[in-house]
């Protein structure tokens, strides 16, 4: 029993690493993949159109900062909404979040 056995060995046996379910892995991986793809696509699309106008040449760096911060905030908001409404899939919520960010970013930068 514990008092005669090596406690560290017992702890190592009791606290074994736990594998996440395949469902969680798939969901997270898809969500993160979609999130990064959408963010990159929206950013590239905005940059290419904005750079045609010389007045916008100083703005892309600011856009990255604004977009990145807003995206993070919205992603978390979406994630919390998903936490409360589990019937809504995380991927769709994240996609909507990114689209909202892209639209917001364009409005704020006058594009």
């Amino acid at each position: 029993m514990p008092d005669v056995m090596d406690m560290e060995a017992l702890l190592r046996s009791a606290l074994v690493p736990v594998e996440p379910s395949e469902g969680l892995s798939d969901r997270l991986e898809r969500g993160l993949s979609d999130l990064t793809d959408l963010a990159a696509d929206e950013l590239a699309e905005w940059e290419l159109s904005a750079m045609r106008d010389p007045r916008n040449w100083a703005r892309p760096a600011a856009a990255v900062v604004v977009g990145g911060t807003a995206a993070g905030a919205l992603v978390l908001v979406r994630a919390r909404q998903q936490h409360k409404k589990r019937q809504v899939t995380g991927i769709r919520a994240l996609e909507r979040g990114i689209r909202d960010v892209a639209e917001d970013m364009q409005k704020r930068l006058g594009h």
Binding site: M1, P2, D3, M5, M7, E8, L10, L11, R12, S13, A14, L15, V16, P17, V18, E19, P20, S21, L24, S25, R27, L28, E29, G31, L32, S33, L35, T36, A39, A40, L43, A44, E47, M51, P60, A61, V64, G68, A71, G72, A73, V75, L76, A79, R80, H83, G90
Partner: protein, 179 residues
């Protein structure tokens, strides 16, 4: 493609690598911290989403050091909010008995499983900081330096914390056996 878009793709690639390397660590931490798979999955998702939000800065400031303690610290903070918001305590019984799967022989199996269950119950009764230190050490195999960074303590204080956690656990289990 513009240079900062390329930089974003590099960051995303690095983040994907971080995620793949440490998903099991974050999930294990969340599971032992909270005690059920459903909420552990939520906590894991939120941890990685928050990590994604702050990844660029964390990578810049890490100065080449491993980012696992930073990830676990995010999970630690979210878990604290989880308990504060819901006025919950960790569940004494972990819902998946498969974690109690030590290499015992057939004759010792029942007794071994019982001993491990007692250990898990004892761990769940420890103060939060001691319980977390044990989870990081034994479930995640983190060294003192990593645990210290995750908990925001010095290495010396972490060593003492672990020592006291094990002593308290031993004492609690002895009392239970005597009773």
């Amino acid at each position: 493609m513009l240079p900062h878009t390329t930089e974003k793709r590099r960051l995303d690639g690095d983040f994907t690598e971080l995620y793949r390397t440490h998903l099991r660590d974050v999930y294990s931490y969340a599971y032992y911290r909270i005690g059920n798979h459903h909420d552990a999955e939520d906590l894991t998702e939120q941890t990685f989403l928050q990590a994604y939000r702050h990844f660029e800065r964390a990578q810049r400031e890490s100065d080449g050091r491993p980012l696992r303690p930073w990830l676990i610290r995010i999970a630690h903070n979210l878990a604290a909010n989880y308990y504060r918001d819901r006025s919950r305590r960790p569940q004494t019984q972990l819902e998946d008995a498969s974690v109690v799967s030590a290499p015992y022989g057939t004759e010792e199996l029942a007794e071994g499983r019982e001993a491990l269950k007692e250990v898990l119950t004892g761990v769940s009764k420890l103060p939060d900081d001691r319980r977390e230190a044990l989870i990081m050490r034994f479930a995640l195999d983190m060294d003192n330096r990593e645990i210290a960074r995750a908990l925001g303590r010095t290495e010396g204080a972490t060593k003492v914390l672990l020592h006291r956690a094990i002593k308290q656990l031993e004492q609690g289990l002895s009392e239970d056996t005597d009773a």
